[in-house]
């Protein structure tokens, strides 16, 4: 069979695919073995085709499938959405969550108890907002009155205690006063006890004044500095 370079190029793929007849294949091979151009060409194309066929597909970007599904099915609200909505369930067993729940429950219990609605006599009327506000108001006033009574009692006790304490006698001759302890330094000289007994002040009046004077003495040379600080603000 007569074969030439043009025929070799035309039938090259048929040869590589193995679809040439036996006679054609023999003529093809015979030409290539003697032709300086066709021999290397066939070897090169054969190698290239083999290499191409050995290559796998190009890997797609990782987000491609998700994007396609998003485009076609929309935002995926099926399983993942449900899973996201129930994600808080396992967190119940975390210590912080449990502590939070216990603290909130204890706060509610304390508030409820202080309002006067004990768990023993809980009725529907207790849950009426008007009754609850009234109960809270009453409880607040009671608490304030108790606190005021307690402070007044303390004042009376302090007053009685201070009167029962023996006053140090004043020496007849002027002598150097013994150095008072550091905390006494802050207090101004106590008023004359006789004058005090003649003209008694109301209970509790003397203490705050003395305290205020002591505080002023401690913080000053003058209240101007304090005022300057405030004004400078």
């Amino acid at each position: 069979m007569d074969w030439n370079c043009l025929l070799t190029e035309d039938r090259l793929s048929d040869f590589l695919d193995g679809v040439l007849s036996t006679e054609e294949a023999r003529a093809f091979s015979a030409h290539c073995s003697g032709c300086a151009r066709c021999g290397p060409l066939v070897a090169q194309i054969g190698g290239l085709v083999k290499e191409m066929q050995s290559l796998g597909p190009v890997e797609e970007p990782p987000q491609l499938v998700a994007r396609i599904l998003h485009l076609t099915l929309g935002p995926r609200a099926s399983r993942q959405g449900l899973r996201r909505r129930l994600a808080w369930v396992p967190r119940i067993w975390e210590p912080q969550f449990a502590m939070g729940v216990v603290t909130v429950a204890a706060s509610f219990f304390m508030v409820f108890h202080s309002v006067g609605g004990g768990t023993n006599h809980l009725r529907r009327t207790n849950l009426n907002p008007v009754n609850m506000i009234r109960a809270i108001d009453r409880q607040a006033h009671l608490s304030y009155a108790r606190a005021a009574k307690f402070v007044n009692d303390l004042r009376v006790v302090y007053e009685i205690e201070s009167r029962l304490q023996p006053q140090p006698e004043r020496p007849s001759e002027p002598s150097p006063r013994p150095e008072p302890p550091p905390e006494e330094k802050l207090l101004p000289p106590s008023p004359d006890p006789e004058q005090e007994s003649r003209n008694p002040r109301p209970v509790g009046d003397s203490l705050p004044r003395n305290l205020l004077a002591a505080l002023l003495e401690r913080t000053s040379p003058g209240t101007g500095s304090v005022r300057a600080t405030w004004s400078s603000r």
């Binding site: 793929s13 090169q44 290239l48 190009v58 491609l64 499938v65 599904l69 076609t72």
Partner: protein, 189 residues
């Protein structure tokens, strides 16, 4: 594993998970075709999305008697590639594979041990350079035959041309590719 035709039927009835399976099964094939043709990963990704969007809308028109699902998929992909090629013909140059050249340089660096994976990657990049220089008719024929592994009958269905034309294009495409690679100095003629 369910056959494609069965999944397609489920998809037509509105079965989301069946569609997801179909997408996962064929995404790589579609992307690979697009990338081999465009030589650009971003374009290939956009085109792949477009392909699946079109498939999703026209899924009910698929008839298993007309051919296998992958052939139909390749046909839709090819049509979109042709549209894309026509659309972008003016502003397209061969600069889109520059990032691959950089990768190729990294692969050739001496600190990287020459292993089979690197060799395959290098070959893949070289081929991409060569394919980018082919005319679209020859390029698609070579890609469908030698890289996508389709037979002549399937390619004839996809390209809608006579089988003789398919054979001729594949043959000419291979010879042209070898010549181009040789000219680029990537492969000895």
């Amino acid at each position: 594993m369910e056959p494609d035709a069965q999944l397609v039927q489920l998809c037509v009835r509105g079965d989301g998970p069946a569609w997801e399976k179909l997408v996962r099964r064929h995404a790589r094939r579609v992307f690979s075709l697009c990338y081999r043709f465009t030589s650009n990963r971003a374009e290939a990704e956009d085109l792949s999305q477009e392909v699946f969007l079109r498939i999703y809308r026209t899924l009910s028109s698929y008839r298993p008697a007309d051919g296998a699902f992958p052939t139909w998929l390749a046909s839709v992909t090819r049509n979109l590639l042709v549209d894309h090629y026509r659309r972008t013909r003016r502003d397209r140059l061969t600069d889109s594979i520059d990032d691959d050249v950089a990768k190729l340089e990294r692969m050739r660096s001496p600190e990287r041990a020459p292993d089979r994976l690197a060799e395959a990657a290098e070959l893949s990049v070289q081929l991409q350079h060569g394919l980018a220089r082919l005319s679209p008719e020859l390029r698609e024929a070579v890609i469908l035959r030698d890289l996508a592994g389709l037979d002549y009958a399937e390619i004839r269905l996809i390209l809608q041309v006579a089988e003789g034309t398919v054979k001729s294009r594949i043959n000419r495409g291979r010879i042209e590719l070898a010549r181009v690679l040789g000219e680029m100095g990537l492969r000895r003629p």
